[in-house]
């Protein structure tokens, strides 16, 4: 009797699973692209993560940018950038998640004509562990086609400590600690992010 009931429950589970398969069906794409090259490289080391960010920004590929960060990603702005934002600074940078990162990047993609970023390594990672960090001096150059800096090319500079984690052989950033360059001539990437937060 008990096995019969269990069998009924199992059948119900399978039926529900099939029902779920019917409810959730993704859309079909328009078709193959004109070129067939993807910019994404499987991030088997931390260098590749930076390369993917660079190509995702240049190609304005939001999902490849999204995939360079883990689900529990947090961004930490330079304290002086937060203080200089005054009252708004208390909320503008607080609890910055991957969703905020992608939203801000999307906003920049909308207003930018071109985006280029370069990284210069300051402290190398230890990739034998599943978690590591690397420190990079970055230069982000954005040519604006709309928004508050229309027709300007602005350079953002700073130093980022990028904490990365390896899951299933793939690396992604789970913490970005942003600091102003020394001397702080340019705004940081953190200031740019804050300007495009929801």
């Amino acid at each position: 009797m008990i096995w019969r009931r269990i069998a009924l429950v199992a059948v119900a589970a399978v039926a529900l699973s099939l029902l779920g398969g019917c409810i959730l069906s993704p859309r079909s794409p328009d078709g193959p692209p004109e070129g067939d090259q993807t910019d994404w490289e499987t991030p088997i080391d931390t260098d590749t993560v930076l390369r993917n960010i660079r190509t995702a920004l240049a190609g304005e590929s939001i999902n490849n940018y999204h995939d360079s960060f883990t689900e529990d990603y947090r961004f930490h702005v330079d304290p002086q950038d937060s203080l200089d934002a005054g009252d708004e600074g208390t909320t503008r940078y607080a609890n910055w998640t991957r969703e905020d990162e992608v939203f801000a990047a999307n906003g920049v993609f909308n207003d930018a004509a071109s985006i280029a970023v370069s990284f210069s390594n300051v402290e190398a990672p230890q990739e034998e562990f599943d978690e590591t960090f690397r420190t990079e001096d970055y230069t982000l150059t954005v040519a604006w086609q709309s928004g508050p800096h229309v027709n300007e090319e602005i350079i953002y500079r700073g130093r980022a400590t990028l904490w990365m984690r390896r899951v299933a052989g793939r690396w992604a950033i789970f913490r970005w600690v942003d600091r102003r360059a020394d001397p702080p001539i340019n705004d940081t990437w953190g200031v740019l992010r804050g300007d495009y937060r929801d």
């Binding site: 499987t42 590929s61 203080l83 200089d84 230890q126 508050p148 299933a168 102003r180």
Partner: protein
């Protein structure tokens, strides 16, 4: 957008460290004075007490013996970064209906290499008077100060700061009528002063709040609350001198009806706010509105069957006068349902969630997102030794933008996952486990300009484990993991990729005598990765690009000395090799090592007078292939004093 250099505007003439020193001096005075005051109180009591109140101790004695100043001090130092935290709390009954409270928190972080100091202070002081059992009034002072200084004293010094001071006088009324009606009302008025970057503002603020809670017969409960705030601040920023007005209204309501083991709830929320503030020497006016309603049921209509269903709607909008590009209006509709059924040793549960979100950003990001997920799980306990569970989950996230010409990021993310888990205990000293997992993620860009990135990621994983106890003092654990991770592109198959992992982890835990523990762990990971693509015959083939071996081992010895001090010595060693393949030849690409020895002593002790001491000192010596880690010394010191009397 631009940076405001606040150098020299903070008006600091005293060095940053005067406050902690002043606080420490206050602490010393309090520590010395309090026992004496308590002693005085005892003497007074012996003589009849009451009489003339000569000091805080006397007042405390008259009002009651509780006197609880608490001081916490902690210090950490990790490489070039050190931090100090001072926390002081004082709650003191000045008379039977008058109480004094004070809280101070100061945090200082220093970076010696970057020559940087970050200081955060929070001061709160208040005197409260209980006018009657229902009415109380309180005056409070609050000061928040944050400062960050780089290269102090040098020509390239940079300072940033934010300060806020406020004084509030509040009166509140709270009463319970007929045991079923709670009513509370509050009114607050005060002054506020703000300084940050090149902005200064000062003015007045008022707020009111009211709560009405009613538990009616027949299982009906209601709870309504309202809060409102108004402020008028005179602000200055450069050439701008303005009077900024801000208003907030918040309303919350809840209705709950309970019958037998079932419940129906309705939650309502409505909020509006208007805020004016200086921005780049102009007055920014921000308006925000929000509303939400949620209806939920928790039903237990049949024995062993539990169902929950909820329907939510929320809407929020913001508008800015100076930055209209930040305007937004977002609506979200959510349906959430779950059910679980328990039959003897079998439990079945399922859940379904569907959400539609409409986001108006008034630009190319405007669009809809649909999120749906569905999950089921079946768990069965066969007997005392064997249990198993089967879980399945799928979700679909769909982003659809209105302007497909300007925004080609339309995409679907479709995830499916199934996990089978066994837990088997053949003998009381042996426990085994097995996990098998299959996962598939699909990324589908819809617009042709993006479909080059369309891909499917498949993960296959098997993870057995075993734990064996040898008596009560030794246990041995071993875990294995075998996984393959495929990335398959829809239109760019030359980029297909495969990663394979093999992991063995072994751990030994030995506690030979009380207070002494030994732990040894070793982990081996073998990984190879490379292209996975079709050959000229249409057969999928794997071409290995590289291979790597990671070994890591750690040995730690722990001992509790004199039942007081925890000692630990730990040594870690890891080395890694990577080979690349070219022309079928395996070549060593690089090898690395990393080793560290850490000694740690920690103490947690409570003195007879209740003072709690916590001290931890750790020193690490590290050596590695990486030049930064080579011959590196790290100190990590934490001290915490918690004094209550």
């Amino acid at each position: 957008m631009g940076r405001s250099d606040s150098r020299g505007r903070a008006g600091e003439v005293r060095p940053w460290w005067w406050r902690p020193i002043a606080l420490a001096l206050i602490l010393v005075v309090v520590l010395l004075a309090a026992p004496a005051a308590a002693q005085d109180g005892d003497d007074d009591e012996g003589e009849g007490g009451g009489g003339q109140f000569g000091g805080l101790g006397d007042l405390a004695q008259a009002a009651g013996p509780e006197f609880h100043p608490v001081y916490k001090l902690s210090h950490t130092r990790d490489k070039e970064i050190s931090g100090w935290t001072h926390n002081f709390n004082l709650s003191y009954p000045l008379a039977s209906r008058v109480s004094f409270s004070s809280t101070t928190n100061i945090t200082i972080r220093e970076n010696d290499v970057l020559n940087r100091v970050n200081l955060q202070e929070n001061w709160n002081t208040g005197i409260g008077v209980a006018v009657s059992s229902a009415i109380s009034t309180e005056i409070k002072f609050n000061r928040i100060k944050q400062r960050d200084v780089r290269n102090e004293g040098s020509p390239n010094e940079v300072r940033s700061f934010r300060e806020k001071e406020s004084v509030d006088l509040s009166t509140s009324y709270k009463k319970v009528y007929l045991n079923d009606i709670d009513l509370s009302l509050g009114v607050t008025g005060g002054f506020e002063k703000n300084r940050y970057a090149d902005v200064q503002s000062r003015g007045v603020a008022q707020s009111i709040n009211a709560t009405l809670r009613y538990d009616a017969p027949m299982g009906l409960a209601t709870d309504f609350s309202y809060s409102g705030r108004h402020s008028l601040l005179d602000s200055e920023q450069g050439v701008l001198a303005s009077t900024d007005e801000s208003i907030d209204h918040n309303f919350n309501g809840r209705l709950a009806y309970t019958w037998e083991e079932n419940q129906l709830t309705v939650d309502l929320r409505r909020s509006t706010s208007k805020k004016e503030y200086p921005k780049e020497q102009q007055t920014e006016r921000r308006e925000q509105n929000g509303e939400a309603i949620a209806v939920g049921t928790d039903l237990n209509l049949l024995p062993a069957l539990d169902t929950r269903i909820s329907l939510d709607f929320s809407r929020s909008s913001s508008s800015y006068e100076l930055e209209p590009s930040r305007d937004n209006d977002i609506k979200t509709y959510t349906l959430d349902g779950s059910a679980s059924y328990t039959l003897g040793d079998t439990k079945f549960s399922t859940d379904l969630r569907s959400e539609k979100k409409r986001s108006n950003y008034f630009d190319e990001q405007t669009g809809d997102s649909y999120s749906q997920s569905f999950g089921t799980s079946l768990t069965h306990r066969f007997n005392d030794r064997l249990s198993a569970s089967l879980r399945g989950r799928m979700s679909l996230l769909s982003r659809q933008y209105d302007d497909i010409e300007a925004n080609d990021q339309d995409r679907d993310l479709f995830d499916q996952e199934a996990t089978l888990n066994f837990d088997y205990t053949p003998r009381s000293d042996i426990r085994t486990g097995l996990t098998i997992k299959i996962r598939e993620d699909q990324l589908i860009y819809i617009r042709r300009s993006r479909t080059g990135d369309n891909k499917t990621t498949q993960t296959f994983l098997i993870q057995p484990s075993v734990k064996k106890d040898f008596g009560s003092k030794i246990s041995l654990t071993q875990r294995y993991e075998l996984s393959a991770d495929y990335t398959l592109y829809d239109y760019d198959r030359d980029s297909n990729f495969l990663i394979r992992n093999f992991v063995i982890g072994t751990g030994l835990d030995w506690r030979p005598i009380g207070g002494l523990g030994l732990n040894v762990e070793h982990k081996y990971r073998g990984q190879d990765e490379g292209a996975y693509r079709e050959d000229e015959f249409g057969v999928e083939r794997y071409a290995r690009n590289s291979e790597r071996d990671d070994h890591s081992m750690s040995i730690s010895v722990r001992y509790r000395l004199l039942e007081l001090i925890d000692l630990e010595v730990k040594q870690d060693l890891s080395f890694q090799k990577k080979w690349t393949f070219s022309d079928d030849e395996k070549r060593l690409a690089w090898e690395k090592y990393d080793t560290s020895v850490t000694g740690r002593a920690s103490l947690n002790h409570t003195l007879e007078d209740g003072t709690r001491l916590s001290v931890s000192v750790a020193r690490t010596h590290r050596d590695a292939t990486n030049i930064v880690e080579r011959q590196r010394e790290v100190w990590n010191i934490t001290a915490n004093i918690d004094k209550t009397f």
